[in-house]
């Protein structure tokens, strides 16, 4: 192969990057079919590409956001302070609303609230009106409804 016919190395490099115009790409493809030296260069560039991709795995290994946040806060950056609203009203398609209600219903079936354990006499001292106290309410003043 006549070296004068070989393209510049920039073209071979751009070929590896798929960065050639269609005409130039076609011409170079024909040349590569006939030129072992250029084929070797292109092959080498592609090997480098594969090897360099192995270097893409480096990680910091920790979240830098809190540290940078602190540094920025010291420089006067505004910080989000007001609490979020808990609920808002949204329009939902009927099917989505039905699914939501069904999910809440089924979830409720799974929750078992145990009955209140009977209070031992010793624990009665923690009643609203402990033993010996006077109940001023018209209704029951203790879980057991005792009026002392």
């Amino acid at each position: 192969m006549n070296k004068l016919d070989c393209p510049r190395v920039e073209e071979l490099s751009a070929y590896v990057d798929d960065a050639l115009e269609p005409d130039a790409l076609a011409a170079l493809a024909v040349h590569l079919g006939a030129c072992a030296d250029c084929r070797k260069t292109v092959h080498g560039f592609r090997e480098l590409h594969t090897a360099l991709r192995d270097l893409a795995g480096a990680r910091v290994g920790q979240d830098l956001a809190p540290r940078l946040h602190a540094a920025l806060a010291g420089s006067g950056a505004r910080v989000l302070r007001r609490p979020a609203r808990l609920w808002r009203v949204l329009p939902l398609p009927l099917a989505a609303a039905a699914s939501l209600l069904l999910g809440v219903f089924l979830g409720g079936l799974l929750v078992h609230i145990p009955a209140a354990a009977p209070v031992s006499p010793a624990m009665a001292v923690f009643d609203v009106v402990p033993p010996g106290g006077i109940c001023m309410s018209a209704g029951p003043c203790s879980p057991q409804g005792r009026i002392y």
Partner: protein, 208 residues
């Protein structure tokens, strides 16, 4: 036509200091420029998303430029801090990633100039590799290959090293590399080609 009803659902939005309502549930889906806009309004969650999005990329670029793991961690933080402190100077017409890598590149170059690095600096025993499911023997070979490659990279001039890293590791297109480095696209093409030739020669002759 689908029937609509009104439903009470948990609110994912927050209100910033100026009373504007912002939706935080989809921060990960927001573009960089949207996160920047939210950050400029005082939403630090947008800031956190941008940090998490770019911290590894900035770190690995700086690491491959200067070769020192410990110093690279400091420089990555310095880069991110400079970027957020300098956001008032950022023009939305430019990509945030381009802006960030400009700062990363300048920070790395400054560090190299301070060190007047002329010799190979080992990066230590740990090499971060992507999880490829390799056998222990293959992992060892890969680690050694990465060490050799890093050593070879450090033998290149910083100008060749940076253009190679931005293309091969950060997968930037020529025009993005040109904007990041402040060079004409033609210069990027020729510099990249020469960098590849030089690195190939170093690797083939084992002169790392």
């Amino acid at each position: 036509m689908e029937t609509m009803v009104w439903a009470l659902v948990p609110d994912s939005s927050v209100t910033d200091n100026s009373g504007r309502v912002q939706d935080t549930m989809s921060m990960r889906e927001r573009r960089d420029d949207e996160c920047v806009a939210l950050y400029r309004q005082g939403d630090m969650r947008a800031f956190e998303e941008l940090v998490r999005r770019y911290q590894d990329r900035v770190y690995r670029f700086v690491l491959r430029m200067i070769g020192s793991r410990e110093e690279s961690l400091d420089l990555a933080q310095e880069t991110l801090l400079k970027a957020f402190q300098g956001l008032p100077r950022w023009r939305p017409q430019a990509q945030f990633s381009t802006w960030l890598f400009q700062i990363a590149r300048n920070t790395a170059i400054d560090a190299l100039r301070r060190r007047k690095l002329v010799e190979y600096v080992p990066i230590g025993d740990d090499v971060d590799l992507p999880d490829q499911g390799l056998s222990p023997e293959s992992q060892l070979q890969l680690v050694q290959r990465c060490r050799n490659l890093q050593a070879a990279l450090l033998r290149l001039s910083p100008e060749h090293r940076e253009v190679l890293l931005l293309r091969e590791v950060e997968e930037m297109a020529y025009d993005e590399i040109a904007e990041t480095l402040g060079l004409p696209e033609g210069t990027v093409k020729s510099r990249l080609a020469r960098a590849r030739l030089e690195l190939l020669a170093i690797c083939r002759h084992g002169t790392y």
